[in-house]
């Protein structure tokens, strides 16, 4: 049962990754592409890592629990750093004077 839940989580995470990569190719300008990449990647990492952590703890020992804890730590750090990196890149774009895309141009 728990294996199926983790498989489902990993697959949903991959769907998010797919959306992020599609958005990077298809969206019109720098900021919107970055928006797709930053947000969907973070969500994809969260879901697929949650799936992996669930899979690791499905036969419960201390070692497996520690592995799951390390996976959760990865998620925590990605959650802190990935949006900040996106923020920094957007900041650099604004400073370089890149205008956001509007429907007119």
């Amino acid at each position: 049962m728990i294996i199926w839940i983790s498989a489902l989580l990993i697959i949903i995470g991959f769907v998010f990754f797919l959306g992020g990569s599609l958005g990077m190719i298809r969206l019109p300008d720098f900021y919107s592409r970055l928006h797709a990449a930053g947000m969907l990647d973070t969500m994809g990492v969260f879901l697929s890592m949650a799936g992996l952590a669930l899979y690791v703890v499905h036969d419960f020992t201390l070692g497996n629990f520690l592995s799951a804890l390390k996976i959760i730590l990865i998620v925590v750090f990605v959650f802190i750093t990935s949006p900040t990196a996106t923020h920094a890149i957007v900041d650099a774009g604004v400073r370089a004077g890149l205008k956001p895309w509007t429907k007119k141009n």
Binding site: F77, I80, T81, T84, H87, A88, D91, R95
Partner: protein, 274 residues
């Protein structure tokens, strides 16, 4: 002079090509390295050094001289950057300050400048540090990066890692601090003098461990001689000796990374910059 330099490079290249033909093929099982050295390392590492990670024991023990001079090469790189780039800090005719309560930027000229305070904050002319979110996040992340660096240094015996990798991660944490704040803040916390001192200290720890072995009446860098100091038998002394040497490498690499970054990012002036 330029032609001479080009000729030298060409000659070295041709020599390299000629002698590379003589080398055994890539992954050749009949080559001397595969028939003599590798089996010995694989079979005897555990009983010789009590280090599970063969790479670490080869790097810091069997091939200790090579690694010592690698550390020296890194120190030389730092010194070369210093000697090529560093210039005397010229007096800048004016400075920029921000008055925090009103948000006004002031340009001040003259001899006397106000000290950095909560009210008056000095600004760089060309470089604006990143905003609140990035600097806070970096402050949050940097301790974890440094703990991980220490882990990589200390865990080189059992898993991939060691002095070079841990040192680079440690240096990167300070460089991250410099990028997310500004160069002056970073230099205030980890000055250039400290970096220079630490980079020499790292090499000194390595070479000093070797020299200590000489004092105990054995070959240079034969850590078994240190068994009376480090405790344990002669095999465990090798394991501990490798750790001491790795710490030396890590200190040197950390300091040289930071030192090179300081010189490169400010073009040698070290007053303002990334």
């Amino acid at each position: 002079m330029k032609i001479l330099g080009k000729l030298t490079i060409l000659l070295c290249g041709v020599l390299l090509m000629v002698f590379a033909m003589e080398f055994p093929n890539w992954g050749d099982p009949e080559s001397p390295a595969s028939t003599h050295l590798s089996p010995y390392f694989i079979q005897h590492t555990m009983e010789d050094t009590a280090v599970p990670n063969i790479v670490t024991s080869v790097l810091a023990d069997y091939r200790g001289y090579d690694t010592m001079f690698e550390t020296t090469v890194i120190l030389t790189a730092g010194l070369a950057c210093f000697l090529l780039l560093r210039i005397e800090r010229k007096k800048i005719p004016h400075r920029y300050y921000r008055h925090e309560p009103t948000g006004v930027t002031l340009r001040m000229e003259g001899e006397k400048y106000p000290k950095n305070s909560a009210v008056f904050q000095r600004m760089d002319a060309n470089w604006v540090p990143y905003d609140f979110v990035i600097s806070r996040t970096c402050r949050l992340i940097i301790p974890f990066i440094q703990i991980f660096a220490l882990y990589v240094v200390a865990h080189g015996h059992h898993s991939p890692g060691g002095g070079f990798q841990g040192g680079v991660i440690m240096g990167a944490s300070v460089i991250l601090f410099a990028i997310s704040h500004n160069l002056r803040t970073s230099i205030k916390n980890f000055s250039e003098k400290t970096a220079a001192l630490f980079s020499v200290t790292g090499v000194f720890i390595y070479a000093g461990t070797g020299a200590l072995c000489l004092l105990f009446g054995e070959v240079f860098l034969n850590y078994s001689a240190l068994a009376p100091i480090l405790g344990g038998d002669r095999v465990m002394a090798r394991s501990h000796g490798i750790l001491v040497v790795e710490i030396g490498v890590a200190v040197a690499v950390t300091a040289v990374m930071i030192w090179i970054y300081y010189n490169l990012s400010s073009a040698g002036k070290q007053d303002e910059g990334l």
